[in-house]
Amino acid sequence: MAKDVKPRVKVPKKASAGETITIKTLISHKMESGQRKDGDGNAIPRSIINRFTADFNDQNVIDVTLEPAISTNPYFQFEAVVPESGEFKFTWYDDDGSVYDTSKKIEVS
């Protein structure tokens, strides 16, 4: 597991039905591209988050493939329409096989 990986998510706690809400997500990750070399000239192996998904009540909202050119601490902001109360689940997939996830509840009135 890469060092110091910590997902952060911002989802409004409440919304009205059918409202479009803005979701912000960020994961601290060094996103090593595989193109850099260390002091001795050896290539530093690639280590990035390669996929990010968000699901709402087990229904997929967004599914992103990340490439090595994406900079450190990848940040995603997107909008979603929430029809009912439920839970957003966010998942990040690391090159080394680690999976990081976090979830947030939202109440629709």
């Binding site: 110091d4 952060r8 911002k10 912000k24 960020l26 601290s28 900079s71 601490n73």
Partner: protein, 276 residues
């Protein structure tokens, strides 16, 4: 209005937009932070002091207005973990003695201060805890763990006005800092005051000169994507004027830190701020 007049108006508007601080108001997650106030009485040339936030582009300003968007908060999160992490021979973490980091509210605005005849900064206090009470290795002045921890502790005082003591024991340190501020050094033969007092608000090539306030330190800089200590920033300034920088954590920079803090008296702590 004829065309000529229109153009001259346009040029005038362009000139003023680049010439001074803007008039935007800073609020972080809805909580307003003061970015402008009357200069303290010991400042002779400047009437009003402004936070460096006012000199930044609107995109950079926006990053600081929301704690989620503020990349400095990533490091604050890391420091929260560090706070509880046991280190050193005594088997202690910060949390072993200082239960809540919130208890440090009010500390940042009073630093640096004089204790037992020595000028002490937050970095000194942290390292004293680490070496004397935790039996751990001291942290390097501007390295990640130190800046993260100073940001976490400083954050507790966000919104509180800077108020450092400059009289009594502190007076000789303050005088030394003032002398450094006005002394020309380096191949370009410039003092801090030449840019940050005489020419703030103007452009130095592509950069908009601020008053060099340190109320937002440690600050997240877009240029190196990490938190920067005030001493690290002083070093950068000195390199830019082709001077040989003083040592981070040395007597000169500590005195300068005190003097600069006193020039920002009344501005509020913005730690961790976002700058370019």
């Amino acid at each position: 209005m004829n065309l000529k007049l229109l153009i001259s108006c346009g040029v005038a508007a362009l000139a003023t937009s680049a010439a001074a601080q803007d008039s935007n108001a800073l609020a972080v997650d809805g909580e307003a932070l003061l970015t402008e106030t009357a200069a303290p009485s010991h400042m002779e040339i400047v009437d009003t002091i402004y936070s460096g936030w006012r000199f930044r582009a609107s995109e950079t300003q926006a990053l600081q207005s929301d704690d989620f968007d503020n990349p400095g908060m990533i490091f604050v999160d890391q420091a929260i973990d560090l706070w509880a992490k046991v280190d050193g021979s005594e088997g202690k973490s910060c949390a072993s003695c200082h239960e809540n980091v919130e208890d440090f509210a009010g500390l940042r605005p009073t630093l640096p201060r004089v204790e037992d005849g020595e000028l002490v900064t937050m970095e000194n206090m942290i390292n004293e805890c680490r070496t004397d009470r935790m039996g751990a290795e001291p942290w390097k002045w501007s390295k990640g763990k130190m800046t993260a921890m100073t940001a976490l502790i400083g954050l507790q005082s966000r919104g509180m006005p800077v108020n450092v003591a400059i009289d009594g024991d502190a007076a000789p340190f303050w005088e030394k800092g003032k002398e450094l501020y006005y002394t020309r050094v380096g191949q370009l033969d410039m003092a801090c005051s030449n840019c940050h007092e005489d020419n703030y608000g103007t452009m130095i090539r592509a950069d908009h000169l601020s008053q060099g306030q340190i109320n937002g330190f440690p600050t997240y800089r877009l240029k190196n994507a990490k938190l920067n200590s005030s001493h690290g920033r002083f070093k950068g300034c000195m390199k830019n004027i082709r001077a040989k920088p003083f040592k981070e954590g040395g007597e000169e920079f500590k005195a300068l830190e005190l003097y600069l803090a006193s020039r920002g008296e009344g501005l509020v702590v913005e730690t961790p701020s976002v700058r370019n």
